[in-house]
Amino acid sequence: MERIEVQKVQKWLDMLKDQSVYLHLETTNGAYASHFDNKGINVGAYIRNAKVRYTQAKIIGDGTSFRVGLKMELGWIYAEGLTHWTIHENDQLLLAGHDQEGRLAVALQISERPFAHQGNTL
């Protein structure tokens, strides 16, 4: 993945708006957070291939980490802490935030076709 370039990502967000898209949204501090730091708790949330439609999208940030907000008819989707992006297989927009050790902490991915699911990769 590459460091986020706002204009390029904004262009992709706009290209994918006003249509039915598949969304992957995830955040995690890892399954071992409370194992290695007994004061911590494991937190995380995950949804893959949620079918959504957004009418407006913005990426905003300070140059190192970014926030993306997607406005839907009946609500919002957002992610923060995004640092990297890439286009997977020519058409899937992947955004991710990595901590100092390079571990993924948040991911927001948007695609016109479903993301590969269990079994597809075997």
């Binding site: 993945m1 992957h24 995830e26 995690t28 890892g30 399954a31 071992y32 194992h35 007994n38 995950y46 990297h84 890439t86 997977h88 297989e89 899937q92 992947l94 991710a96 990595h98 050790e101 390079g102 571990r103 993924l104 902490a105 991911a107 991915q109 993301f115 590969a116 699911h117 269990q118 079994g119 990769t121 075997l122």
Partner: protein, 223 residues
């Protein structure tokens, strides 16, 4: 001597961190080893020191890393096909039946899995429970011995001294080679020394202390 050893863990790399030394020693005695790997670890957070993987490429990368470890340790790999981080939400009985079918074909003399409740990661606990149930479902005459591996911080206080202790410090470099073959997951342990990513000496000594003994509890069935 064992006839065939089956290792049942949920993630590519569990076998290397937990049992690479034992696998090497079984293979030295020509005992076949099969690793039933529950998932591809596709939800892992580690993407490589230079971030060479992403959420979509990670499954294939980890699958290739696992195949390379299979070659390195000369063991068979069998993928169970579940999705990372969802094993505890699957129907336990279904997973147990799935594992039992495979065990009935391989007919191992020994099964190694995680100790449910003492294995930290929900997938570890779930696959340990399903594997133990799978063996319980077998004809008592044909059941393999089950060794359960605990990894939680205070497991010895609650479970007592493990029944089986393999000291693998004599082959620790080989164990590290297996761990580091899971490059996407293990590369973060390395440091740049003289322009190369290497395992620092003090880090290796630490790992040797943590991973140099492979310990197991013999599961007792009371049915």
């Amino acid at each position: 001597m064992e006839k065939h050893v089956v290792i049942i863990f949920p993630h590519p790399d569990d076998e290397s961190f937990g049992t690479a030394g034992s696998i090497i020693k079984f293979r030295q005695q020509n005992i076949p080893v099969t690793f039933l790997c529950g998932t591809l670890g596709e939800m892992g957070r580690n993407m490589g020191k230079q971030i060479f993987a992403n959420r979509e490429t990670l499954p294939m990368i980890r699958k290739q890393e696992l195949a390379a470890v299979g070659k390195l340790l000369d063991m068979d790999i069998h993928l169970l096909g579940y999705q990372d981080k969802t094993l505890e939400f699957e129907d336990r009985q279904e997973v147990a039946e799935h594992i039992k079918e495979i065990l009935n074909k391989i007919k191992p003399s020994l099964v190694i899995t995680h100790y449910p409740g003492y294995a930290v990661h929900p997938d570890h606990d779930a696959i340990g429970a399903a594997a133990i149930e799978a063996v319980r479902l077998m004809d008592p005459e044909e059941r393999p011995t089950v060794w359960a591996q605990a990894i939680s911080t205070n497991y010895q206080e609650e479970l007592g001294k493990p029944d089986v202790i393999h000291d693998v410090r004599d082959i620790f470099d080989q164990k590290m080679e297996a761990i580091l073959t899971h490059r996407s997951q293990a590369e973060g342990m390395l440091k740049e020394i003289n322009g190369h990513l290497q395992l620092a000496k003090e880090d290796k000594e630490n790992l040797k202390r943590r991973l140099g003994l492979e310990q197991f509890y013999i599961w007792e069935y009371h049915d």
